[in-house]
């Protein structure tokens, strides 16, 4: 690659809940777009890419490469390079924080703890994708029960004085438990904080199995929730770096890796 040449690339991360796209000019993010996937991968993938292109004032023919990761990546109508989510998140975090060697990703369908090299390549990885109680999905389920906007969960959680103890590790049973706690008159703040503690305990248990490095970052939808981030920090006893936009980390990684291929 000639470094003087201007090169436009796109990166997509088509997840089970959200579809994200970024347009990059060399190593700079020009534009991004995030929209709910809503079960229609094909529509979401193509819409989110076109939207990002439009924001950047570019058209599809300007793109030198497209990289994509996520459950619904294969539904994209254009030719692209398929990359694993793990590689994309590692690389994306490396883009924001070159010093980070451990990435905790909390997604809608899976949570991952990834040790990365200084180039942002995957060194070691643990994935939990069997159970909704270990992913950010449980946050959405409980937000719905409590009739709280997802983006308010974090700030509310920080106001808790007496976090509720969840006795179950199952998202479905946790929903029932949350309903019972509400009926008993427990404060929403305390229920949310209890949920964050339970999810953080799961993530931390997973992180224990891989050796956490000095510099750690958290990404994925879960990183948008300050209550969860603080709870995980408490459990792993480390400070976590959070990028300004954790949603698009994977998409940035996808764009960067695709350019090199």
């Amino acid at each position: 690659m000639n470094s003087k040449e201007t090169l436009y690339s796109a990166g997509l991360d088509i997840g089970s809940a959200l579809s994200k796209a970024v347009i990059m000019k060399n190593r700079t993010v020009l534009s991004s777009s995030v929209r709910p996937t809503e079960g229609n991968f094909s529509h979401a993938a193509n819409t989110v890419l076109n939207d990002a292109l439009e924001k950047a004032g570019l058209s599809h023919s300007d793109l030198a490469s497209i990289g994509a990761c996520g459950l619904g990546a294969s539904f994209l109508a254009y030719p692209f390079t398929k990359i694993t989510e793990i590689s994309c998140h590692s690389r994306g975090v490396n883009y924001f924080f070159p010093s980070v060697r451990t990435v905790i990703e909390v997604g809608n369908q899976a949570s991952r703890v990834i040790n990365v090299t200084k180039e942002g390549k995957v060194a070691d990885c643990i994935v939990s994708d069997r159970c909704a109680a270990g992913s950010s999905r449980i946050l959405q389920i409980i937000a719905k029960v409590l009739k709280v906007d997802l983006k308010d969960m974090g700030p509310l959680s920080l106001k808790s004085t007496n976090p509720v103890r969840f006795t179950t590790g199952c998202a479905v049973f946790a929903e029932t438990e949350a309903i019972s706690r509400v009926a008993e008159g427990m404060r929403k703040e305390d229920i949310i904080a209890g949920l964050h503690q339970a999810l953080a305990a799961r993530i931390s248990a997973m992180a224990q199995r891989i050796k956490l490095k000095e510099e750690c970052a958290i990404t994925g939808g879960g990183a948008k929730d300050i209550g969860l981030v603080r709870a995980v920090e408490g459990k792993i006893e480390k400070k976590l770096l959070v990028s300004d936009d954790p949603f698009i980390t994977g998409a940035i990684g996808a764009a960067l890796i695709a350019v090199e291929k």
Binding site: G169, A171, V172
Partner: protein, 288 residues
């Protein structure tokens, strides 16, 4: 003589009143949040149905997850023992019992009517009745109907998620891909059967196998389980009341150990009273 068994499950409460030889009457109702009041109300209902008075009951045993909330019971027995005893009454040769409840699932090993071993999942909704409820709600079908619908499947869908939440999402995804609801439900039943099978297999599934609990009322799940086990299983005529029946059978056994005088004193002291809660007026009770 009359013996009563109450099984307060997480989802459904059951009462069985039996005589020395036969089931006299049974009542099945959803469990609410307030077990105590429900136990009282349901007992009244059962007595009315049986045309008995409370004083005619010689011994009462409570079982199930809400068993401590039955103030008028003479004794509590675990649901594992009660299921075993209930099944044993119908099928004395059974060695393995699989109970699929509303919020848990158990495997019980029996030898000559004695408990040998058991496994249980109450930590995760997968493999329990709750899983079936969530899926049927997501697909917009009544939970009572999903078994029959699944039997019409010609090509069961592959549902790879074990987690209820993820399986629900997978089912909806298949639906959007144009897979028929019959095939999705058949896939769902296969998935849950595999989950239950692998749990119970840890205590070694041995013939004869009995299936019980509300989950077995679903013919699709029953068929999927039998396919997984590799041979047909026996199912009691009303799989919901196995635990309550077992409790009533234990009641009968305990009465045999007490002398008549003590039994009469006990019965006189026993009260069927509505339990009241803080901050509300008393509800009407009925003395025995």
């Amino acid at each position: 003589m009359f013996f009563a068994g109450l099984d307060i499950g997480s989802t459904i409460t059951k009462i069985v009143i039996k005589t020395e030889d036969e089931i006299w009457t049974s009542v099945i109702r959803p469990t609410g949040a307030e077990h105590r009041r429900l136990a009282h109300k349901l007992m009244e209902e059962a007595l009315q149905k049986a045309n008995l008075t409370f004083g005619q009951l010689d011994y009462i045993i409570a079982t199930g997850y809400g068993r401590i909330n039955v103030p008028f019971a003479d004794r509590q027995v675990t649901e594992i023992s009660c299921h075993m005893r209930g099944i044993n009454w119908f099928f004395p040769g059974v060695k393995t019992i699989i109970d699929i409840g509303g919020q848990d699932c158990k495997g019980i090993k029996v030898n000559n009517g004695k408990l040998v071993n058991f496994v249980m999942n109450d930590k995760c909704a997968a493999g329990t009745g709750r899983f079936l409820e969530v899926i049927s709600e997501a697909l917009g079908v009544k939970v009572e109907e999903i078994g029959d619908i699944s039997l019409r499947s010609t090509n069961p869908a592959k549902i790879s998620s074990l987690c209820t939440v993820f399986a629900e999402q997978e089912a909806l995804l298949r639906l959007s891909e144009g897979v028929s609801i019959e095939d999705i439900l058949a896939g769902i039943h296969r998935g849950i059967a595999t989950r239950i099978y692998s749990m119970v297999e840890r205590i070694n599934i041995e013939k004869e196998v009995a299936l019980t609990g509300g989950g077995v009322k679903n013919v699709g799940l029953r068929k999927a389980l039998e396919e997984r086990i590799g041979f047909p299983a026996v199912v009691p005529p009303e799989p919901l009341i196995t635990g309550a029946l077992g409790a009533a059978l234990f009641a009968q056994e305990y009465v045999g150990r007490i002398d008549k005088k003590e039994l009469e004193t006990r019965k006189k002291e026993r009260r069927l009273e509505a339990v009241t809660f803080f901050g509300e007026g008393p509800t009407r009770g009925q003395n025995g």
